[in-house]
């Protein structure tokens, strides 16, 4: 995902590279071409490149507003009764390990119902 974008006015003068206070811009010259490079982890988004560019070629808005990048996708566990999303597989395993027992996936509402039924059943059995 590239946040640093230039428009067709860029003529490769390297003013931005020379003026970047974070050294977050560089370039590579090969046989017949020059490539402008940007490092988002060094970039402070200070805007100096945008200010100094003699060609107004830098589209600074992309450093300010951009699309979301997917970071990680994990399997999720849903309530066994109503399908509501509860937690991820990994989180469920983590909690069950700490609890040292298996837990049936139920949302708070259906867990409460279940507990109530279990208590009622237990009391009936006790009376019997």
């Amino acid at each position: 995902m590239s946040y640093f974008k230039v428009n067709e006015n860029c003529n490769g003068c390297l003013a931005c590279v020379q003026n970047c206070p974070a050294c977050a811009l560089s370039y590579e010259d090969e046989a017949v071409s020059r490539t402008l490079r940007h490092n988002m982890t060094l970039c402070a988004r200070c805007g100096q490149c945008w200010r100094v560019c003699p060609q107004d070629a830098i589209e600074f808005q992309h450093l300010l507003q951009s699309a979301w990048d997917d970071v990680v996708t994990l399997d999720i566990v849903r309530c066994s009764v109503c399908d509501e999303v509860l937690y991820t597989d990994a989180y469920g395993e983590h909690v069950q390990e700490r609890l040292q027992k298996e837990v049936e996936p139920r949302c708070p509402k259906h867990q409460e119902e279940f507990s109530r039924l279990a208590r009622a059943h237990f009391q009936t059995e006790k009376k019997a």
Binding site: C20, A22, C23
Partner: protein, 226 residues
């Protein structure tokens, strides 16, 4: 934003002359943005120290690097290594960064390369002006968002002094009179009545008169394990 400026080269050289191996450490935040202590200035300072001739033949070994923010200890201690045999760190951060790095790597000496000056704003490229002094009791809602603490030479709260001439400050004649600016701003906002409001005498303790200040925000989780 915190604004700082590079100290004179002679002063910097003198403050590190006794060390044989120095890490020159820039900061990727405020001082990068005000063009005083970022990676570019760090490299430049290292070069200038090397060829300055100010070490009388006993030239130290310099290494350099930049941390995204020197003012956060967990970040610094997790992500910044100090090369072996380093005898001192020359920090291009603001005073907050210098001190945090010193706390992180103590007892290693951490020397400031910058003079930290003020909280600044930039209305034109390359120019930062002091507009806030962190007084801890903001009155900008009464003054059309123009600060009488920072921008009036006398930090007056009741309007201009008798020396305000043609909208200029009598003390620092290059500066506009803050209260003239406040008047004209409130006029544009149709809020001149705010100047008639009577406020209680100001308590200046939040402005630092009661010692170093602290902000504590709970419930955000602890520092990550190294």
């Amino acid at each position: 934003m915190i604004v700082a400026e590079l100290k004179p080269l002679k002063e910097i050289a003198a403050s590190v002359a006794e060390y044989r191996k120095i890490l020159v450490l820039g900061c990727g935040s405020c001082v990068t943005v005000c063009l005083s202590g970022g990676e570019r200035e760090t490299q430049q300072l290292t070069r200038e120290l090397l060829r300055s001739g100010l070490f009388g033949g006993k030239l130290p070994v310099f290494e350099s690097g930049t941390v995204i923010r020197q003012c956060e200890k967990d970040l610094v201690e997790t992500y910044q290594q100090v090369p072996p045999d380093t005898e001192a760190i020359l920090s291009l951060a603001c005073g907050c960064g210098v001190q945090t790095v010193a706390d992180t790597f103590e007892p290693l000496p951490v020397i400031p390369a910058l003079n930290t000056t003020f909280y600044g704003a930039s209305n034109e490229a390359g120019v930062w002006r002091e507009v806030c002094q962190g007084c801890g009791d903001c009155v900008l809602s009464h003054t059309g968002s123009i600060c009488p603490v920072a921008r009036c030479a006398k930090s007056l709260f009741n309007g201009p002094c008798g020396g305000s001439q043609n909208g200029r400050c009598e003390i620092f004649t290059d500066n506009p009179c803050a209260w003239a600016m406040i008047y004209y701003r409130l006029k544009k906002q149709n809020k001149l009545h705010l100047l008639h409001e009577v406020h209680a005498p100001r308590d200046w303790q939040p402005a630092g008169g009661a010692g170093p200040r602290v902000r504590i925000r709970t419930g955000i989780g602890g520092s990550p394990q190294k």
